[in-house]
């Protein structure tokens, strides 16, 4: 058992868990869920917070982020077994996240809690949204929260599984195609240091289709540790497009674990954009291709600045034959920032006829920036097509001179080239308003004195 008494957050969560389990706050949950919380908590307590001695955290040293004290958001309400008090979202934060001229259903959360309102009209029939606070106490839905064993080796995911209280539960009924995208705006704001652990579950049933955009924004004086866990099931023939736009500000430590389970012939498209702001971002994105003939596309773009540490860990887990996966992550590293990309592709013995492609390209703008890129292929089937590539480069002086020789100023030329570098990823976005929004965010964040 690893004791980490020196870490205030460790003590806070251990004490928090004991209070929660001793209280009646979880008594309306199924016994399986309570058992799952217990298992997850024990896993977390055994492992503690990850250090660079853990292979998956080798390049991502979070020690400096663990020095502060945090209190657990919503713990008191969870202990009481009542819904967390609803806080009105800061309109300035919401405005930051809004995608201009995008026609969508807008759902705003404050520190992981949704007040039940939707802007942009009521959801179409067959698209159901509820709070996790309600869903976890519903015997029919409880099973969706009981899979904590899966997160055993993931420190933060285990912590979330032990202590989560709220988030969004989304269900799209079989055969339903949502007419407009859903936009989940996660706002985080606090005056005192806070640990927020949102848990989201999305179930996209047979032959349903939906596009979900998530934005993460923050404000306030206090520091916020967000430890999110999202579980997605994409059933047979269903199609999900999932876009994550992380634009939280400094003071935020964002750890997001997303597991997607794909059933037969399903399609999952993920776009993950991380922009300057949050000092720590760690995304774990796991695509588990549990049945045959699935298709998955993972696109990522990280533009990092300041002292930022942005780590994308992806796993594409080919379990069955005839599945296709395609992954492209691009990084632009400014100032003293650090980027980490770890792309694991696992092809099981059964997964013959797998097509798996992976590419990670990095543009290191400043000579004080760092990137660690690690493609990791483990292939146990013999009839597969898999490829991976990783590059790290700098601005091409020739390209820069060519643009300047046409009268384009150096800064504008660099901005053009960064946009061009990102283009391979941004052009894949199928919603034009989102593509424009992302390009504007990129342009906005290209500072004039970056090197």
């Amino acid at each position: 058992m690893t004791q980490q008494p020196a870490i205030p957050l460790y003590e806070e969560v251990v004490n928090g868990y004991h209070k929660l389990s001793a209280s009646g706050g979880t008594k309306r949950e199924s016994s399986d869920l309570r058992k799952a919380r217990q298992t997850a908590f024990e896993k977390f307590r055994e492992q503690g917070f990850p250090t660079i001695r853990n292979e998956d955290w080798k390049f991502t040293n979070i020690t400096r982020f663990l020095k502060e004290e945090f209190t657990i958001e919503g713990l008191d309400a969870a202990i009481e077994g009542v819904p967390a008090p609803v806080v009105v979202a800061d309109p300035v934060l919401v405005e930051k996240a809004v995608v201009p001229s995008l026609d969508c259903y807008q759902v705003v959360l404050v520190n992981g809690v949704w007040d039940g309102t939707i802007a942009g009209g009521s959801l179409p029939a067959g698209v159901e949204l509820m709070t996790v606070a309600a869903a976890r106490q519903d015997p029919a839905l409880s099973a969706f929260f009981e899979r904590s064993a899966e997160y055993g080796n993931h420190h933060f995911a285990a912590l979330n599984a032990a202590l989560f209280s709220d988030g969004l539960f989304l269900r799209v009924d079989a055969g339903v195609t949502a007419d407009r995208p859903l936009h989940f705006i996660h706002t985080y704001s606090t005056s005192q240091n806070l640990l927020v652990q949102p848990r989201h579950v999305w179930v996209i049933n047979r032959n349903a289709e939906i596009s979900v955009i998530e934005s993460v924004v923050s404000g306030g004086q206090g520091k916020i540790w967000v430890n999110g866990l999202t579980e997605i099931v994409v059933h047979t023939d269903a199609r999900l497009s999932h876009t994550m736009i992380q634009t939280a500000s400094a003071g935020v430590r964002l750890v997001q674990h997303t597991t997607v389970r794909q059933r037969k012939q399903s399609l999952y498209n993920n776009f993950t954009f991380t922009l300057p702001g949050a000092e720590l971002v760690r995304n774990d994105l796991h695509a588990r291709l549990e049945e045959s003939h699935t298709e998955s596309h993972l696109y990522g773009l990280y533009l990092t600045a300041g002292q930022q540490l942005v780590d994308n860990h992806t796993l594409v887990d080919h379990q069955k034959p005839n599945c296709q996966s395609n992954e492209l992550y691009k990084g632009v590293l400014l100032e003293q920032s650090t980027g980490v990309f770890n792309g694991k592709v696992f092809v099981h013995k059964d997964a013959q006829k797998t097509n798996a492609f992976q590419q990670n390209n990095n543009l290191v703008i400043s000579n004080k920036a760092t990137i660690d890129s690690k493609p990791q292929l483990e292939i146990f089937a013999d009839d597969v097509k898999c490829s991976h590539g990783s590059t790290v480069g700098q601005f091409s002086e020739d390209s820069l001179f060519y643009l300047r020789a046409r009268g384009i100023g150096e800064e504008t030329a660099k901005a053009l080239m960064i946009n061009a570098f990102a283009f391979d990823v941004t052009e894949k976005i199928k919603i034009p308003e989102v593509e424009v929004h992302i390009n504007e965010l990129i342009s906005y964040h290209i500072p004039s004195a970056h090197a």
Binding site: S396, F401, A405, R406, I408, L416, F423
Partner: protein
Amino acid sequence: MLIIKNLHAEVEEKQILKGINLSVNAGEVHAIMGPNGSGKSSLASVLAGRENYQVTEGEVLFNGQNLLDMKPEVRAREGLFLAFQYPIEIPGVSNINFLKTALSEIRAHKNLPPMDAKEFLRLSREKQKLVEFDAQLVNRSLNEGFSGGEKKRNEIFQLAMLEPTLSILDETDSGLDIDALRIVSKGVNKLRSSNNAFIMITHYQRLLDYIVPDFVHVLYDGRIVKSGTKELALELEEKGYDWLKEEVHAKDAREKAAI
């Protein structure tokens, strides 16, 4: 328009230009010829402001201003244009956006209001026609996947769009077949006027059949060793460069002996 006085330049501490003198007036077309490695492209690079070249001596005045003090983008905005020998491919930057950005920065520099989208489109169509540039290429990524000839034509299209006063064509004819050469030359001839000037750097006399120069200069070992009219180009075509090289070496030897 352009006055080059005793220009010396080096790259990586190697002396490349060893005292160039040249004056170009509005309305003139100058051809600069010379064997490989004589410094032709280096001269173009120094004039355009490529940063790995160091000017060690001499000066260059462009419309009365010190050209060498200007950043590459300022030179372009002031009306200098270099058609690259090897145009760069930049995937993800669309040709048309690139030109729009360039034109708006040039106009801002000249205190002109930005061109509206409609006017820009009209101008772009007019110039495409003028230089016979394929409309489909205009919307593609800058030079990406273009053939050698398409890249060179794109240079001339950019030249037409940006309307510089002094254009330096760095071996624009190299890698062109006869048809492409004719199209490129036709474009340049249409753009010639009494207000602008051209410096054509070329290896072969061939280009000069299509674009007839007012002056021909021969560059050898970093200096202009002979200047003349278009007849000089014909003489070079016939006799090659060796006789000139010998002349230069003989002269150098005499000068050395005199010291």
